[in-house]
Symmetry: C2
Subunit: 337 residues, 2 copies
């Protein structure tokens, strides 16, 4: 913990994502209905809508977030060498984001923007069933572009992990394409998470091409993968995945996950949480456990079990950054049958 950036460009996993501070609040179902929020989804909102919703949000807590950043922080908390590329503003919440990711041991070198919109925030309404409904103001994330992608950092990472949400901004998408190109030239692996079913709706064709041509490891949940291939159910999606992707980890919430690599298929059970509080970050933390396991050379089933254990830990608390170090989870899966 608290590793200073030594200047070393070698990492197990490098992530590119929207750098966001989450504003997490408990919310009654009635409020989510009254505000006509897209329950369970991520909706992009402007500054005015953000101010409006904040006035209706209950007492909250601020926790660093951002899907990819959550994954990368968790990789570091699991003892992996991790790096992150993203943009914040030089404001109080930007300092919070930068502090939290570096304090987890992640290399994060992008300077905060001195001008422009404030650091991004996502208001997360957590209903009594633990479901989270996210409303994101992208703020300073719109500054992310190809210039933020340090070629040495990408070339030095065993796996570069992209967040599908980045496709919503042309410059961020260009940053991803630049990273993908460097990754290929350097002979390293490219991973992608599809992020959100509605995001897949917006960028289906581009994601399909990227998955066919460039992606080595695909992460998706059930809604995302069925949307990507426009099929009715998970099993049909699974058959499509096996035709198009060499390697995929597909999460299904309480139903666990399915990991596919070539002919190899593993069906992994979910780990029941000690209590279900807030599902924010379940997919992000699954990806973290999985990626950490891969870079440790663990077998696929164990990678999946580590992903499930990380997901179970994060849904037992508010927010998508672990309240306590995740490293002890490694021992639980290594000890498992």
């Amino acid at each position: 913990m608290h590793l200073a950036d030594t200047g070393d460009d070698r990492h197990d996993v490098l992530g590119l994502g929207n750098a966001i501070v989450d504003i997490v609040a408990y919310a009654e179902d009635d409020l989510v209905a009254e505000l006509e929020l897209q329950r369970g989804g991520m909706t992009l909102i402007d500054e005015e809508r953000s101010a409006f919703l904040y006035r209706r949000l209950g007492p909250a807590r601020e926790v660093s977030g951002g899907s990819c950043a959550n994954t990368i922080a968790a990789v570091a908390s699991l003892g992996g060498r991790a790096a992150y590329i993203g943009r914040v503003r030089d404001d109080q919440l930007g300092r919070v984001f930068s502090h939290d990711i570096r304090a987890t041991g992640v290399t994060f070198r992008n300077a905060p923007s001195p001008t422009g919109p404030a650091t991004a925030t996502s208001m997360i309404f957590v209903t009594p069933d633990g479901q989270r409904t996210m409303n994101t103001y992208l703020g300073a994330c719109v500054e992310l572009g190809p210039d933020d992608v340090d070629p040495e950092l990408v070339a030095g990472a065993s796996i570069t992990y992209l967040e599908g949400y980045l496709w919503d901004r042309p410059d961020a998408k260009a940053a991803c394409r630049k990273a993908a190109e460097i990754c290929r030239t350097a002979g390293k692996r490219l991973a992608l998470t599809l992020s959100d079913g509605f995001c897949v709706d917006r960028w289906r064709q581009e994601f399909r091409e990227l998955v066919d041509e460039r992606v080595d490891i695909l992460f998706a949940n059930e809604a995302e993968i069925t949307s990507l291939y426009e099929v009715a159910d998970f099993d049909h999606a699974l058959q499509e995945v096996r035709r198009h992707v060499h390697f995929a980890a597909l999460t299904r919430g309480a139903k666990g996950s399915v990991v596919v690599r070539g002919e190899e298929v593993h069906v992994i059970d979910a780990v029941p949480p000690v209590r279900l509080v807030d599902t924010t970050g379940a997919g992000d933390l699954y990806a973290a456990g999985f990626l950490r396991g891969l870079t440790m050379g663990l077998d696929l089933a164990t990678c999946g079990r580590l992903g499930s254990a990380c997901a179970a830990a994060i849904i037992a608390q508010y927010g998508a950054r672990a309240e306590q170090p995740l490293l002890p989870l490694l021992r639980t899966v290594e000890a498992a049958p």
Copy 2:
């Protein structure tokens, strides 16, 4: 929840305190030892020390805090009409503080300072035993003075609750004295929490006089009350309290609490938490339950039990603001024998 301020000056409890945003992080014992922090206490620090400690603090979450503000927010969460007087800066964390307290239903009217130091922050290192070690940068709290005390608000409150920490700044102390005077003139009750054993060391004589002459309801923990009367143990302190104060609620952590009013003495058991995570706010939430019970006209023992139930709820989570509404706790104590 989400009550707009109707302009009504009548409240059950009005609090004066330092308006602070907590920066809460899990910390290994070794780190607290290495940084030579005053374990379990509250230390005032300057901006430079704050920046130094932040660089060493682990990944954190930001939660509104401030001892008195925690109490007042919990009174509101328990369904009480509550108001708060304190000062923040017009920065991102000031907006967080203002949002959170208003969203709980508290009347909070002090305008944020447009200039001067940033909103106060307290870095809280939470060790594996659940103990919290606080390092507070007072920031914009130093702006709090008598002009911030609205006489109508004080006169309209059944109980005005002061935080001992305010004695550390002359202007804040003057604000307290003004409120105490209005309270007496209006025939309302004045409550005081001694806040911290080291704070009592600094202001012992003033606190003794205030308690003798003005305070109707005194809150203190074991360290504070033994420091106030410079006695060796709790039982000696209890005998002093009975000579000097008509009404006191004395908390003793896992040993529960003792409530004294004239000849009446109640020994109240602590409620065991479902899990012990972070003791931040245990005393603040005990006071909230107790004050809410009093203003509902509950008997003293039930007030004490409600205090214990609130304390148990808050130490099962990080931070001193309840993650979920406290109102259901009312039913648990009303149903108790």
